[in-house]
Amino acid sequence: MHSNRLTIVSILAIAAILLAACAPSTGTPAGTSAPASVQINGAGSTFAQPVYDAWIYAYQSVDPSVTLNYQGTGSGAGITAILDNTIDFAGSDALLTAAQYTQGKDLQMYPIMAGAIVPIYNITFNGTPPANKPLILNGKTLAGIYNATITMWNDPAILALNPDLASFLPAAKITAVHRSDGSGTTQLFTLALSAFSSSWTAGSGTSIQWPVDTAGNGIGGKGNPGVAAAVQNTPNSIGYVEFSYAISNKIAFASMINQAGILVVASADTLASAMNDFATNFNDKLTNTIVDAPGQTSWPIAGYTYIILHTSSSTDCTKELKLLQFINWALTSPTAAQIATNLGFATLPGSVQPTVLTALGQVTCNGQPVLK
């Protein structure tokens, strides 16, 4: 009798566990009105990830009641995820297409800051080149490398740009590293290549077919970290990453000759200069491109990074409020600005910031404005 009961109890227990495991999948959405633990999920851009990670880390002490989770999956993935409603906000450097605006119904992009993309390289020099003489490239040469028309490090085009390094550049094949996943970084980079050179015919987009791949000299890396890692692991390679990945990992990055014909080094100043060249160009979708800027001191490969939100379809107003508070903090707090600047990003110009804050104020939840 006793063991019988034991069996029954254990069966019931298993059933209970199973029920408990299955129940939530049929009902209760995540984080139902739980003021003390709001979980907000974001994903997307690895371009902006260093800043988002640092912001989230700092924000824990600003508002401990909210847990933010940001996954650097690539802008393409971020957009897909916000379209599928699998996350609460997306980080993206890529612009939404018309079709995506239609599919997403109430999606809005909010510029958060701007970042620079730098060509990074790993060259095994012949001998020891002079210190503090980074590689110099211009737009045409960079496009030529990714077009596989320039395939050797001692190509005359590269030698001509680098008189100081000329005798040190090896007669080695260039391995060009690019993103293997869909990415806003790639979109900005290819947009710049299209602007630099009329012979760049591969177009621009979050994921393109690389001529250098077709020629057999391309390697793909996943995310900005993946590209940086691949360049580090591959002697005589070149890649492109968001500026902060080059700084924080001490990877050599190239200087560029910009549209005005001036040699510029990536920095907060040259980035700000590029932003100012186009400060009035924001369209009604709050987007703007700043590649190949004409200014004397402007860094040529740069772009805004955006947060994408649903503006009216949210039903979890507590969560929406916490999310907007976080974004508001990121845009206005000096701490947040400092974090971004330290990582090589530039905050929004004074002429743009109020517009973005106003737009954030228009987000509604259940028909009511979220921020009051």
């Binding site: 009798m1 019988n4 069996t7 029954i8 999956t73 690539g74 802008s75 393409g76 993935a77 957009i79 897909t80 995820a81 297409t97 079709a99 095994t124 094949k173 391995t175 293997s180 996943d181 869909g182 990415s183 591969a202 177009g203 621009s204 987009g205 979050t206 994921s207 393109i208 077919q209 690389w210 791949d213 077709t214 057999g216 000299n217 391309g218 390697i219 793909g220 890396g221 996943k222 691949a230 692991n233 591959t234 002697p235 005589n236 390679s237």
Partner: protein, 336 residues
């Protein structure tokens, strides 16, 4: 007992009913068994259906040219043109490299473990070989990137490029130079070989163990050496079983994802060379599925998964048929 019975009567009717159902619960029991078995079968069917349905857009818009080996290699989400042949090629060539390396080694191991190894050494050695298959794919990848590729693949790749790169026809497969990091189809193939050796070796060993002792004894009695016995009696006898083992290993190589993604270089590439970076079907999906930019792109990636699924399905069926044939041929006299 008296107490228990009275207690029994005090219980609500539905509990008594439940208890009596349990007492004679064979129907419930077999029902549960059947239900769970149906779930397992349903999962398999559902995977097939789901891949088929969700690749509909791509199948309709691109059609058969998606699979054509003669079209130019293209995977261009900007212009929405997709052709999967270069990924199929990447998968096939890396698996081929893996098989060419792994099969002789595995059969050697199987022979050693089943025929020659001292009995006390057999169990621990078998276990060690099988442990190789327990190491997670990502650990192979990590070790590959930072240790194995620079130490082994890059020098071997340079050597192969120099030695074989200029031979007509065959040279195309060894056209260098290999990227200095070693990322290449060759790297993926060799890592795959290491990963599938345990599978092929273990199954082949079982095939050898299943061959009746009478076969060996007859051969030895006729004066053949052990090696002659192995080469002329056991191997021919076990051929179909070994073939099954090889196909099982091939199936694993075709589907392997993480280690390959980490060492193959992820580059869409029209070259056939082993020394060039490439892509396999599974590494394409791992890199791009979450980031696909439009419906056709997603659908095309799912169609790649469908092709991969059908390839491994076909291989599994063939392998099972072969292994099954062998085990049916001599079940009675099996050694252990």
């Amino acid at each position: 007992m008296q107490k228990a019975i009275s207690k029994q009567h005090n219980k609500p009717a539905f509990i008594r009913k439940f208890q009596s159902a349990l007492e004679h619960g064979d129907r419930v029991w077999i029902g549960l068994n059947i239900a769970m078995s149906v779930i397992v079968v349903a999962i398999m069917v559902l995977i097939g259906i789901l891949l088929w349905n969700q690749s509909a857009v791509s199948r309709q818009q691109i059609g058969l040219s998606f699979l054509s080996p003669f079209a130019a290699p293209t995977w261009d989400p900007v212009n929405n043109t997709y052709n999967t042949w270069s990924f199929i090629y990447g998968t096939l060539i890396t698996s081929l490299v893996a098989i060419v390396i792994a099969v002789p080694l595995s059969i050697g191991i199987a022979i050693f473990l089943s025929e020659l190894c001292p009995p006390w050494l057999r169990a621990p050695l078998s276990m060690l070989v099988e442990l190789l298959s327990a190491i997670p794919s990502v650990v192979y990848g990590l070790w590959g990137i930072f240790v194995f590729l620079p130490a082994v693949i890059t020098p071997v790749g340079i050597f192969l490029g120099d030695a074989l790169g200029s031979i007509p026809l065959l040279g195309g497969f060894f056209a260098g130079p290999i990227a200095a990091s070693g990322s290449s189809r060759l790297a993926a193939g060799i890592i795959l070989a290491i990963m599938i050796i345990p599978t092929i070796a273990a199954v082949s060993r079982d095939v050898f163990l299943a061959i009746p002792s009478s076969q060996r004894e007859a051969s030895l009695a006729l004066g053949a050496t052990r090696w002659e016995t192995i080469g002329r009696v056991l191997v021919p006898y076990g051929t179909s079983g070994i073939l099954g083992a090889v196909i099982l290993g091939l199936g694993r190589a075709l589907g392997e994802t993480m280690a390959v993604t980490m060492v193959i270089g992820n580059s869409l590439n029209s070259s056939i060379s082993l020394l060039k970076p490439g892509y396999t079907m599974s590494s394409l999906i791992a890199n791009q599925f979450a980031e696909s930019v439009n419906a056709l792109n997603t659908s095309a990636l799912i169609e790649v998964a469908l092709v991969l699924f059908l390839m491994t399905l076909a291989l599994n069926i063939i392998a099972r048929l072969l292994v099954w044939r062998v085990s049916r041929r001599f079940p009675a006299e099996a050694r252990t």
